[in-house]
Amino acid sequence: MKKHEALILEGIGASPGIASGKVKIISSYGEAIGFRKGDVLVAKITDPSMVMAMSNSAAIICDIGGIGSHPAIVSREMGTPCVVNTKKATKILKNGDEVKVDGKTGKIYLLS
């Protein structure tokens, strides 16, 4: 059955593609270690210490950043949808929320 989609956040589409998954908020190298494949990585900004989690993520969402910032450059090379500069993703989203990320339009939908 198709899930209901509600627009919850908007930012800059930084890597094209659409993907869905459960939110996992990360702020450090330690938290990135337990990341599950297929989850949606949410961070204030990613950095290379989170690269293992990034490579296993279905999509990436960041509070800050531009299309030339680290998450954007790296996610484009992996074909992982990415939205940056949402301003408040880490505040609005909660671990376990199911979301759909559109890396082209920069829109993020809460699924229920």
Binding site: Y29, D47, V51, S69, G79
Partner: protein, 350 residues
Amino acid sequence: MIQKNNWINEYAKKIFDITKTVDHRTFFPFDGFLFYPLFDNLWIEKFYQVVCELENKNISEADILKSLPTFSSLKFNFFEMLFMLNDANMDHEKSRKIINFFLQYIRHISVDEKWYNHDRIQKYINIEHKKELAIFKKEDAPIVGKIICGCAALVHGLYNDYCTDFGYDVFGPYDVSKKFGKGSELFIKYFPDLKAELIWPERKGKKIDDIVIYQVLKNIKSKSYYMGSHIDYKNNIIENTICARVDVNGRSVKNKKKLHEISEMLLDDAAFHYNMCKEFDFEKQKEIYLLQFCYQFKKLFELAGISWRPSKEMKSAIRGKKLIKGSNFGKFNYDQSKEYFGINYLKKVI
């Protein structure tokens, strides 16, 4: 020949475009433009000595070309040098010599005078005729993507946010439609120094020196932002891959298992290294940044017979000092950008 003001205006627009794509809050360990004023006069003098020595020793253009950093690194260093010359309000005669040195070699390497608009360089043109590109197929694209991600993340830690281009360049796109069909283009991702053991002695013994990745992509609609690594694709790269080739230490990787092993090794290395960098205190971060900055011109300085390492005066100029205040990097309007990044100064000097 492009008229002076024309190319400078186009260059100014290019710089304005790229700086708008980044967010200064994300720079690690800090915004370099707030750091350079602590030592820029000393760096300029050292660089000027190198240019003079190369001239005095009659070093050939070919030898200088072999000693320069990657094309993107050279271009980014030109961008930084203009900022520094302007900030230090350097004597115009010296500035002109340094600026002309950069322009001479940037133009020499690039395909045409519009070097500020693309990243095509002579060296790799016709590479498609020399290499067997179709080693890996579309279904392997995610692993190739992980390797690029691992390399890009690793060099980010090895060379910091401002010197990354020394460790990561992208060339292309080159039209390969005759061989791979309509809309196909070749991109070359080049990671020339993945050890950097002169900056990080603990990396001695690491197995991978360099990696070159050749990707044939279709209908990707790319846009380059001055430096090779700052490339944007309108369409998804994995879905639009035709084939790829990965060379590690000059040898082509032939099977998927090996490719997977390399990707895991790089991702692990990158995460570990960067985490270590994050734990440095501010004094250590400045010290390492200065070393990373100078390392980019190691070969050129050695050619001139001058030590590439930061001088005692440079080290002393940053020790115990705070960064300067007041950057609005990425938030400037066009006119403010031209002033801040030394483009108005460039017009006065040349």
